[in-house]
Subunit: 224 residues, 2 copies
DNA sequence: GGAGAAAGTCAAAATTTGGTCAAGAATAAA
DNA sequence: TTTATTCTTGACCAAATTTTGACTTTCTCC
């Protein structure tokens, strides 16, 4: 899905140029040539906003504060001024970065990408990032080994989730059973060894590592 | 030291019954027949709270939230209701477990013990640091001599845990056996000398020190 | 020093535990 | 419905641990 960028600047020549360039790089672009227009176009829910500081009427700093009341996304100021005081004002207003005119289009793209990446990371659901290469995304319930996605059944993922969220701690089968099946579940906690076997097999095939360690007589632990 | 349990229920017959039963099992019990009384009795610093959900005035869920602002300990709800929604509400309010009326006293004791055990484990200081170089990590159940990890079986570790947590104190074999195997375990406490031998051998090989000292005719002590 | 009790040693037996497998039961998908 | 997937169970094996008992050593006290 393409990222949406909102460009706010009162110089049509510049906005046209930027718009074309960003579209060439795969972005979906909205353009606003005034503050009012910008506010009206917030409903496009941009992933990132490029904002000119010098505009007639409500200027970029003011606009930035207003925008912040509505949505959370990276806001990059486009500006000619670049005093220390300007930076402070911009950050106070809720901006994320400055790009001084004139700027290279390459640089602009690079900055935009950097901010989108960071934003994505911040808003990303909590992940357990274990040893390099392995990503366990708890809210999507997905596991990646490098680029490859490993598929686990519900119970399997539940066990992985519980153990990997408490790395290095040993949990006996009763405790795991209680955590995954529910404290009031009835049944034999020996099912766990079967699930553990399946989990290990999948990890082993993909990554060559088992991740779950047996502590004899005690239970299992997630080896980080 | 006996665990302290606070029972909060507006039915005197029930609280009386529970109180007696828990006392028989060695617990120190406080009883509150109302929410107000319960709050007043928090200063007994209970290790665990049994809380009736259905009470006049502030109900158990509300009370639970309030209690959570004061102390951290397992809170078990006593309840007749048991819908899925109730569980969610209870957990949201900060409860740890549900026990539905009517319940067996056996089960109650078992649940209480399970929670106390877990609580103790979670609140345990992460590691015992004995003489330089030796690290005994109780929650991970790992022992390090400098960088090297020493491996111990369950019983071995349990013995090390018990002794090293009470350094310099002498315990006779009966006492150690009771602490590690359980007060109601049957068997010959002479097994201990064999385990001690194994433990000593492992420590000796790695560190050149035995750590466990024999006090002739008395028992063993952890030499710090 | 010697008797007797307590602790240490050792190897083998007994038990417990975890891993594996196959098949049946339950659940979800088509 | 059929089909496929997942979950659970029980049996079996292998490995690791725990216990046992016979034996030796060490210590204490007379």
């Amino acid at each position: 899905m393409a990222y949406r960028v909102l460009i706010v600047d009162d110089e049509p020549i510049l906005t046209e140029l930027l718009s074309t360039h960003l579209q060439d790089h795969g972005y979906t672009v909205s353009v606003a040539n005034s503050s009012d227009e910008a506010l009206a176009k917030l409903n496009t829910k941009p992933n990132l906003i490029l904002l000119d500081i010098n505009m007639p009427g409500m200027d970029g700093l003011e606009l930035c504060k207003v925008i912040r009341n509505h949505i959370v996304c990276p806001i990059l100021f486009l500006t000619a001024r670049i005093t220390e005081q300007d930076k402070v004002n911009g950050l106070r207003a809720g901006g994320d970065d400055y790009i001084t005119k004139p700027f290279g289009l390459q640089e602009l793209i690079a900055r935009i990408e950097a901010h989108l990446r960071r934003d994505e990371r911040n808003n990303r659901p909590p992940e357990v990032l274990t040893s390099q290469g392995l990503i366990i995304n708890l809210s999507d319930r997905k596991v990646f080994w490098n680029e490859q996605e490993l598929s686990f059944s519900k119970r399997e993922f539940d066990i992985i989730e519980f153990l990997s969220s408490n790395p290095n701690q040993v949990f006996d089968k009763e405790r795991i059973y209680e955590a995954v099946w529910g404290y009031d579940a009835e049944g034999d906690s020996s099912v766990i060894k079967e699930h553990i076997r399946k989990i290990r097999a999948k990890f082993m095939q993909a990554s060559g590592s088992e991740y779950i360690e047996t502590v004899w007589g005690m239970g299992y632990r997630w080896k980080k």
